[in-house]
């Protein structure tokens, strides 16, 4: 079971809340302070992407974020319920423009550039971005 779970309406204004919660739980789980910026950015990218997928495909379901303390790892899953056609590669990013597609690509590029352990999966019923970071074995006391 996730340590903390979050569901929010697919609206841009809630992405910041998800970032703040994720960073707070990551800190408690013992993720290094120097890495918290990456956690914040990566979860924000994943949530922004989910919000835009829900909005563009007219899905009214909330975006799901599961934050889990594991032994010496901290993992985040961001799930959407938008139907995905084909998996796209996050590697091929040009200068980009303002089109939703390229924002999506840039978001994935940022995530894959930041996070060593990341898995992106998707099918017709939705997609999940799963990321994890090392954490101290004993949770921080503060």
């Amino acid at each position: 079971m996730a340590t903390v779970e979050l569901r929010f309406s697919a609206l841009p204004e809630h992405v910041r809340t998800a970032r703040l919660v994720a960073a707070a739980v990551a800190r408690r789980a013992g993720v290094d302070e120097a890495v918290l910026d990456e956690v914040r950015l990566a979860v924000g990218e994943a949530c922004s992407r989910a919000v835009s997928l829900h909005q563009s495909s007219g899905v009214s379901a909330p975006v799901r974020v599961a934050l889990t303390e594991e032994e010496k790892r901290f993992s985040i899953e961001v799930g959407d319920e938008a139907p995905h056609a084909v998996m796209t590669s996050a590697d091929d990013v040009g200068a980009g423009d303002e089109a939703a597609d390229s924002d999506d690509q840039m978001g994935l590029a940022v995530i894959s550039g930041l996070v060593d352990d990341v898995q992106v999966s998707a099918d017709e019923s939705g997609g999940v971005i799963r990321m994890s970071w090392p954490a101290a074995s004993a949770p921080a006391l503060s």
Binding site: P12, E13, V15, R16, R19, D37, R40, L41, G44, E45, S48, V51, S52, V93, A95, G96, D97, E98, S102, D103, M106, G107, A109, V110, G113, L114
Partner: protein, 113 residues
């Protein structure tokens, strides 16, 4: 934390001072500001990001969009940024090759090439 924007003119450059968080929620405000400047004939922009606490790919998309707009008028878009955590995002997306990034507004305003 919201986004703050203020603009001032220095010579033939327009300096846009950005503060706060540029993300999926606030980026449209920055986009509107850049579009408005270009529509009003300001084609040489300096975006001062020293007060930016957070930048994501939506923000990058807006900056790239701004660059495309000024380039259509043979203009320029320069960034001012010294914050490592912000610079890192430009590096991992390869955008350091796309944007001239300066260490101070004075430097950006004086730059010509």
């Amino acid at each position: 934390m919201d986004l703050s924007l203020s603009t001032r003119t220095v010579g033939d450059r327009t300096v846009v001072e950005v503060g706060g968080e540029i993300d999926v929620y606030t980026a449209p405000k920055l986009r509107e500001q850049l579009v408005e400047l270009v529509n009003d004939g300001s084609y040489h922009l300096v975006v001062d990001m020293e007060g930016v606490d957070f930048l994501d790919s939506t923000g990058l998309g807006v900056l790239v969009g701004g660059l495309k707009r000024v380039r259509a008028h043979e203009g320029s878009l320069r960034l001012v940024c010294n914050q490592e955590r912000i610079l890192k995002i430009f590096r991992i997306t390869g955008l350091t090759k796309v944007f001239p990034i300066h260490t101070s507004v004075d430097d950006a305003v004086a730059a010509t090439d």
